[in-house]
Amino acid sequence: MALDRSDVEQIAHLARIALHGDDITATTDKLAGIMGLIDQLQAVDTSGVEPLAHPLETTQRLRTDAVTEINQRDALQAIAPATEQGLYLVPRVIE
């Protein structure tokens, strides 16, 4: 899968990482190298093989629907960049 500049711009957007100018070229080259490594898997015949998501194939444990956590909002928000009345502040989203 050959990666070109517009692919890399799209990927950077999906990953929400700003990427500009010269960086795009350098990144395209490095990513193309990595994709070359990964593309080796395309040649492998995996017909009939079940994917393995979890090494021990355990299933998700369930628990009783009961409250076990305590309210720690102040402690957890103490390290936030910007908060107000318990809310996290970000640049205006809705015009």
Partner: protein, 483 residues
């Protein structure tokens, strides 16, 4: 004092030959003296350490102490340690003071250990050389022109330089075993699910495992005893009973079947490494083990499979770093999208950004089947190879790396060449099987490591085999010059 193993220090503390305060002060002085040249610690916590040491001494005096009480440890900087900066080696978390304690560090604290500080690491655990840290590269105490390995390079360097009694590390693609191999340490990656990942900042959730890094298998057994066990708060934690890891250390090895995977001993293996493994094979034979050739036919697919699965999972795990709730935020964001994009572009280093992007691509519409799903099928093939091998042998023996530690700067401009050094360690993470790395010799002043891999939950057996080897060899007793 620092020449004693953890087990030796424990005895000295219990017999009151030394106090934990003395021992802690001793390590703190050594860190001040030697760590400038090594850069193994990101954060040192002297006041906390001495406070904990005083509490430990009181417990020792009252006869209310276990084997780890008073032992000074260092923790890899991706374990959340409450009230202490937890940076993951990244600018993104340079200002992150962990608001809670990870299960691993909580268990070690409950066992009475002392926290000397947080160790340097490849950023977000992505790397094999500890050159990608925001806080600078770590140097190998055996030869400071060389890497200590990664991503647990800081923990490895700190233990090898005797700047702590032992340390915690994590292993997603070899990040405990490879640095242990490069620094003459014993490091164990347990079975996936053996140790809780709660509070361990995630890189690849289906591969990450914490483990001990120390100078002997006996020391690792003591640490694993405290670290292992079911944790309700980690949904991937396995509810498997924890055996007494020290109890079987002295089992004789007669009748042990050791497998040598032929794919791992092909051309490209460095001569000194091949010779060291061959010598180890002879040593195991004199101890009564039987050696068999086995095959792991899909071993060479492990690297491409890993470099799809790990980045894919990382792209998901690292999406939480967005400048909103914690961590780095860019200045004057124009809008929400700019906040996300620039916080992440400025907060993450190049390797992390590369892996996030590879992962995003592998999971994106139109590519998921060709990449991620295909990699998961290959993962099944790799697991099957191990299951088949363990029908014929009890443990598998192989090198930790194709060569001893390479020079700083040698591979940093070529990500793929760095990825290829993970060839011996990555299969165990994909299959979820446990592995222990231990010293097997030296090439000049550089350590050579070997690995033993076992079936699921065979940690006691791996520690036993490693311990018996260490009873009859002395590689693990050597110390770097001038430290």
């Amino acid at each position: 004092m620092h020449e004693k193993t953890l087990a030796g220090l424990s005895q000295a503390l219990h017999s009151k030959a030394i106090s934990s305060v003395e021992l802690t002060e001793h390590y703190l002085k050594r860190i001040e003296q030697f760590d400038g040249a090594l850069n193994s610690y990101i954060t040192v916590t002297p006041e906390l350490a001495l406070e904990q040491a005083r509490v430990a001494d009181a417990r020792l005096a009252a006869g209310d102490a276990g084997p780890l009480t008073g032992i000074p440890l260092a923790h890899k900087d991706l374990f959340c340690t409450q009230g202490i900066r937890t940076s993951c080696g990244s600018k993104m978390l340079d200002n992150f003071i962990a608001p809670y304690e990870s299960t691993v560090t909580a268990r070690l604290l409950a066992a009475g250990t002392v926290t000397l500080g947080k160790t340097n690491m490849d950023e977000f655990a992505m790397g094999s050389s500890n050159e990608s840290s925001y806080y600078g590269a770590v140097r190998n105490p055996w030869n400071t022109e060389h890497v200590p390995g990664g991503s647990s390079g800081g923990s490895a360097a700190a233990v090898a330089a005797r700047l702590c009694a032992a340390a915690t590390g994590t292993d997603t693609g070899g990040s405990i075993r490879q640095p242990a191999g490069y620094t003459a340490l014993t490091g164990l990656k347990p079975t996936y699910g053996r140790i809780s990942r709660w509070g361990m900042i995630a890189y690849a959730s289906s591969l990450d495992q914490a483990g001990p890094m120390a100078r002997t298998a006996e020391d690792c057994a003591l640490l694993l005893q405290a670290m292992a066990g079911f944790d309700e708060r980690d949904s991937t934690s396995v509810d498997e009973p924890v055996p007494d890891y020290s109890a079987e250390l002295n089992q004789p090895l007669s009748g042990l079947r050791i497998g040598l995977p032929k794919e791992y001993f092909a051309s490209g293996l460095d001569t000194a490494t091949a010779d060291a493994i061959a010598a180890a094979v002879k040593q195991f034979q004199t101890l009564g083990a039987e050696i068999k050739d086995i095959s792991l036919p899909n071993a060479e697919l492990a690297i491409p499979a890993y470099y799809i699965i790990a980045p894919a999972e990382a792209s998901s795990n690292l999406s939480r770093f967005d400048g909103v709730r914690f961590g780095y935020r860019c200045e004057n964001p124009a809008d929400l999208t700019d906040l996300y994009k620039r916080s992440r572009a400025e907060g993450f280093g190049d390797e992390v950004k590369r892996r996030i992007m590879v992962g995003a691509y592998a999971l994106s519409a139109g590519y998921y089947d060709a990449y991620y799903l295909q990699a998961q099928k290959v993962r099944r093939l790799i697991k099957n190879d191990f299951m088949a091998a363990y029908e014929q042998v009890d443990v598998i023996l192989c090198p930790t790396s194709p060569t001893p530690a390479f020079r700083i700067g040698e591979k940093i401009d070529d990500p793929v060449s760095l990825y290829l050094t993970d060839i011996y360690t990555i299969t165990a993470n994909l299959a979820g099987v446990p592995g222990i790395a231990l010293p097997a010799g030296f090439a000049g002043d550089l350590p050579i490591g070997m690995q033993l891999l076992g079936p699921y939950f065979s940690e006691a057996r791996l520690l036993n085999v490693a311990h018996q080897y260490q009873q009859h060899t002395d590689w693990h007793t050597r110390a770097p010059a001038g430290i």
